[in-house]
Structures are given as C-alpha cells and as structure tokens.
Symmetry: C2
Subunit: 429 residues, 2 copies
C-alpha cells in the first residue's frame, strides 16, 4: 500500500473523479428533471423586433393584434348574381318564377335586382343575393327561380372579424393564414420575438471537424451540425463555439464565450468516465451551475442541466442519438418557452401497431425509434435497432419514436403504440 | 329587337362572355383535375446547386449519397468500462467475480482488461466491454461481476452504415438526422434542387396593396401574401407579379412576365362573372392553355389549371379560403413534384370526434374547416362556420380540415373523422 499526500484541492478533485468513475449514484426522473430545470430558468423575455408581413412566416407573435375595424367593412355579395330583397323571392320556383326589374344605381327598390359579382358591396335596401345560375335574364328583367332568406349569400359586415376582437394572439407561431388575416386588416408589419441565440459546443478528444482529414482514432463531429439544425427547425439561431478537447480549462473558456448567447448546448463529456469533464467545467463558470446530472431515461441518461448567470445550459451526451433525444426532451421545451410560444409545440403523432416486441429497462423512460409505414390504410411501427445510441443511421431509418414509461419492461408485438413523428410516413400499400 | 353587327372576334368574345355568365357547364372531379394537370406538366427537373451541410436543412437532395466507408470505421466501445475477452467473463457474478489484470497497450492478452471510454476503439483481441458499474477496481486488477457475450457493448465496424450502402436517398427533404449522417461520413456539402420559382399575381378591381389607403369599395389583397407564405413553407421561392385590374390585357402582360418563373399562380377572376377574365388572358399567352376550369369541390370550385409554354399555371379563386384550399390540392402536389420529392408530403392527420353535424353538397368534394382540440386524451373536431369561403378568420380559428367525399351529403355529430392538420392542436383538459 502506498501513501501519497495530496493538497486539499487535489484531494477534492480526486474524490470527484472517483465519484464519476462509479457511475451515476442517482438518476432523476425525466419529468422531475425538466421541472427542476424550467423552474430555475429565468423568465426573461426575448427582445422583440418589427418585421414585414412577408418576412413573418414561422416567427412568434410578440403582440396581440386587435382588429380596429369590422371585416368585411360593409355587407358584400358572397356569390355572382343579383342583389335583391329576400321578401321579393318568396314562393319563387323554376315553374313559378318571380320577375324582377334590373336596377343599376346604388340602391334597389321593391321588385328590383342589381347585378353583383362576388365581393361587391350590397346596394342599399338589398338583403340577399340570388345566384346567377338560379336566374334567367330577359332583357331588362330577370326571372328568379328560388326563394331566398334574408342574408342569404351575403358576407355580413363584421362576419369575418369584428372591431375590437383579437385577430392574432401573442405567442403564436405565424402561419400563412395569420398573415392573411393581418393583410386583410391592412397591416404591413408585426412585432415578433427575436430568434433566441443558442451557442453550441462539441467536446471530445476524438472529434475532427468535417472538411479536415481524420487522424487515427478520430471521428467527425456530428452533433454540432445536428443540434444547429434542430435549433433552426424551431426558429432559433445557432452560434458555433466549435470543438473542444476533453480539457476543463479549454471547455471553461469556450463556455464563457457562449454566455453571450441566450442558451448554451454542449455535447459529449457528460458521462462518468475520466474524460467527462463538462459538468466540472460548467460548475467553474458560475452559479447555481449543475441542477441535474444523470436522468432515468434511455438513451440520454448522462444528460445534465445547469443554469449559470441566469443562462440555461443543456449538457447533452456525445452519442448522436442520445444527443437528439436529450435535445427533444430538454432543449426543445426550453426553446419553445423562450420563443414565447403560448404552448409547447408537440410533434405530430400517429397510433400504429408494433411489428415486433421491444425490451426496455424498468425504472427508465425509454425512447424506441420506429419506422412507421402505412399499409392498406393501417399504420405499423417497426422498431429500429435497439442497440447503440451512437448509431446515427437509426435516426435516418426511423421516422418517429415511441415512449415506453418507467413502469414497463417493454412493448409487446401487435400492441398499439403512440408514435411521435419526426419525418414523413411512407405508404407502402 | 335590335340587330347589331359584330366582327368575328367580337362575336367570339360575346359568346364566351355569355357562356361564362351561365355558370360552369361541367365540373371536373378533383382527382381527374389533378391527374389531367400533372400528366400535362412537363417533367423537367429543376437545376441543382451545391450547398454546405449547415445550409441544407429543409432542402431536397438531388443526389443519392453512397457511403464510401464503414461507420464506425473500427470496432468501438459503446460504454465506459473495460475492454475484455468475453470468454474470460463466463460465470462471473457479484458473489463469484472474475479477476482480470489491467492492460494499457494496443492489445490485450487472456485474463486482461483495458480501460476504455465510450467511443474508444477496442484494443486488439478484445471482443466485449464490461461496464464500469459492473466492475470493481483493486489496484492493478479489476473484479468483473457479470458475464459478457461476444460483441456485448461494442459498436461493430460497419454497424451504423456499410461502405456501398445508401446513406441518403435522392428526393429526400433533408432533416437534422440526414445532415448528421452526412457529417459522420465527413461530407461538407450536398447537391440539392434549386428552389422552384413561383410567380404570383392577384387580380381584382377591388384590390389594394397593404400600406396604401383603401378607396371606396376596395379591400386589401390577402391572397398574394398567403400564397407566398404557402410557397415558402414548401421550400419554393415566391416572385411577386403584383396586383392587376380585371383587365385581360393587363393580366396577359403580367402573365407573360411570370413565364420566366417555374410556375405561375393567380388569384381571382376565375369564376363565371363578367370581371372573370383570367382564363381568357391565360388562353391568350400560349398553348395548350386551360386544361380544366370548374372543379367539383367546395370551396374552390372556380379553380382552373393550365399549361402555357410548358409552364404550369394554377388559377385560384379570389376568395382567400378557396385560394388556400385550391393551393392545397393543386399547387402543393405540383410543387412537391417539382421539388423532386420522392413522394408528396402529406400533412399530419389525427382522428377526432366531430362535435356537431355538417351538411355538404352531394357530387362535390367538400373541405370542412375544423378546430381540433384534445380533452381527456381524446381528440374532438369542432366545425368552423361552413358559411363564407371568403372569411379568412375561419382559417385562423381552425387548425385542420376534414374531406367529405362526393357521395356524402355531410357528416354526423359524433362521427369519427380524419383531420388533416395545418396548425397545432391545443389540449384543453
């Protein structure tokens, strides 16, 4: 037995290292981890910016749009035909048509009709429009073949939206239809939230940047490219912090640079091995630092969540699949909340029949990648290789995932499962 | 009775006008209309362009990516632990551990283990990895507590993707996971299709551009903004042809300018009223011109489809809702095909219970706007105002549509319907 004298600092470091080497002492359930993290995240809103209507697609509204007028602004014809008084058409039929004379002023009198096209304002005193195909023109007169009720084929003033009504709520991801309603109201711009800036750092001695030549034992960094794209999909702006070696000082320095962003996301170096120095580096840059490390889920167990100087930090696994799943469950809700979205956007789901059984670990929430396909108008979900959370191709071969809860050890063949889709579903029959 | 002499040209025009004023003589079924249109569309592929991996999100791959190597490039550890020979662990348990000595070279011998971290290449002769938490280190030795099978916790060479395998197919909308797999292969760029250019023209004497002051009887143009956004959502590039009066010469001139784009989309002027001169203008600019005019659907019945000088022209209704539905069923499949997508992208769907009955017209395919919400983990679809295809707010108040087939006169309350979603679903309970 050898005795070695350590300084206090060295001693702490060594205890810390030994703790890491033993594996996670305690895993936090997924829901608790997310709650702890989001509750600790400061509720600072992003800055807002005015954008032109035609640049607002996909942005999140930062203001409530209240209509200042009625739409339509006046009663309008909803069809091509003749504006009439409904009472003049009572009893009309193709066998007993009613005859009206054609008016062409701004108003009509009894037993008159005025030709209108879709969208034309109704002449005064008219209260309904007979469709062209239900009339026959005879010189200066028309035969009306069907009876009308008041307001029939009329778009009433204020029927689309009334003055004082909310046209678009705040916290809405703007779709083409929202832009349409704003255009109808004559708006040219809207206040939206700025895109949150997400600084992304990959860590790992083995990582090489694409475009360079791989040295022995190196692999290309995948995660920065995937995480950037995931951020872009949500409408956030990725900032590249590059690749760091598994070196606490280098990581600390890069993280400090990242604090100018709204969120930092790291990948790698978060497990319990000797090179896993990211949580240590995060703890060094500020308070309150790591809140959760080690989550009862598979994949993505080594995920850690931290707050430093009011900035959320999501510390993802270096395994590409685990990084994507960790992003999905922790970064995505965070970014949706930062974006000011009224509610988190969920992925589309589909119920499908599992084509083969799946085994999962009790006490962990498991995420099973599946390929959903449609055959004879029924959906099936084929589990894709449970092995290897590092196999990025399992994500391109699948189009969704199934969540297996903590209290189950797997799913049975033929079971109906809810699939969360991240790509299109193919119809094979 | 008055006799008037017309020139042949005037006469043709007059006959044409009278035909228009009678309503559509014949409505083409939706599926036939789309088939006729797509079959007549030239199969010219868009030009391709190389883009950096980080700019490729959402673009459509124009080349098939074949892996030039195995991934992983060598056998790697999938966990933190010790690389061993599986046969040395047979019979190991926490009560009867096997003891191995620690190796630190490039290979191991019998009864040896070498510490490895996730992702490390396996030392020669090792064929499995024992996880750290299933071992105990005692100086230069480790106790192994569980038996391993060969390849356990190993990412085998080529397990992710093999040399010669297709990594990404052509005609795929690139998602983060595709970019990830390409990064893993060391690729920095990919060939994608150029964005199709869609020229958009709104027609209507009543239209005013947002930002200007409305004159009497004017409304703001909604459709150019909505159609632009719908194009952008699909990854196409809108080109603005502005607003034209209901004047065949002005429309003809603007359409000619639009022929430099890949597709033209017009809105308005396509019904059977006197101001509906768009089909006439389209017929003037080239051949084969209008293929379908008047479709057995509601809304969007006046939609027309044309090809001129090999350019597809989609002639949408001026009613904003009808324009959106017409876009959905004719422009969307066309653009998906132009984009080179392997298959048309369908909107997410959900089965929901209809909250009240809906009446539709027999012989027309009807599109009923609904608001889907989730209550107690069940989906409900509430029909939104059947009236008024001009009411754009019915699109912002709904988040999907239900298709009622031609052979039905409506849907019953409580019926399970398939909703095609164009916005998020809200959970209300």
């Amino acid at each position: 037995m050898r005795y070695v004298f350590y300084s206090v600092q060295q001693c702490c470091l060594r205890v810390h290292l030994l703790a890491r080497l033993k594996g996670f002492q305690k895993l936090t359930p997924v829901d608790d981890a997310l709650r702890i993290f989001l509750e600790a995240c400061p509720l600072k809103k992003l800055k807002t910016v005015h954008v032109h209507l035609d640049s607002a697609l996909g942005r999140v509204s930062a203001e409530k749009i209240i209509s200042k007028e009625d739409l339509p602004r006046v009663d309008r014809s909803a069809v091509d035909g003749y504006a009439v008084k409904a009472e003049d058409t009572v009893g009309a039929s193709q066998f007993k048509p009613k005859t009206l004379t054609i008016a062409d002023g701004e108003e009509i009198s009894a037993k008159q009709g005025k030709q209108v096209w879709t969208g034309n304002p109704l002449p005064k005193e008219a209260n309904a429009v007979i469709m062209l195909e239900n009339t026959k023109r005879r010189g200066a007169e028309i035969e009306v073949w069907t009876p009308l009720t008041p307001n029939e084929n009329v778009s009433k003033k204020g029927e689309d939206i009334k003055s004082g009504e909310i046209a678009v709520k705040a916290g809405i991801r703007l779709k083409p239809q929202h832009l349409g309603l704003m255009a109808a109201l004559g708006m040219t711009s809207i206040t939206v939230f700025e895109k949150p800036k997400i600084a992304i750092l990959a860590t790992g001695n083995e990582l090489q940047e694409i475009g360079n030549k791989l040295q022995e034992n190196q692999v290309f960094d995948v995660n920065r490219h995937v995480v950037s794209a995931l951020c872009r999909e949500l409408g956030a702006e990725p900032l590249d912090l590059g690749i760091s070696k598994d070196n606490a000082e280098e990581i600390t320095e890069k993280l400090r640079a990242g604090l100018s962003a709204d969120v930092i996301i790291t990948t790698g170096g978060t497990s319990v091995g000797a090179p896993d120095v990211v949580p240590e580096a995060v703890n060094k840059i500020g308070k309150p630092s790591i809140l959760v490390h080690g989550i009862a889920m598979r994949p993505a167990m080594p995920t850690a969540l931290a707050i430093v100087d009011e900035k959320p930090i999501v510390i993802l696994s270096g395994n590409p699949v685990a990084a994507m799943i960790g992003f999905e469950f922790f970064a995505r809700p965070l970014i949706c909340r930062m974006l000011g979205l009224e509610r988190e956007e969920s992925r589309p789901t589909v119920e499908a029949e599992l084509t083969k059984k799946v085994l999962t670990a009790l006490g962990r929430r498991s995420f099973v990648r599946v390929r959903v396909f449609k055959e004879n108008s029924k959906f099936f979900a084929e589990p894709i290789s449970a092995r290897g959370s590092g196999l990025i191709s399992t994500m391109t071969r699948s189009n969704g995932y199934v969540i297996v809860p903590e209290n189950r050890e797997g799913l049975a063949q033929g079971e109906t499962v809810l699939v969360h889709l991240f790509d299109n579903v193919e119809a094979v029959g």
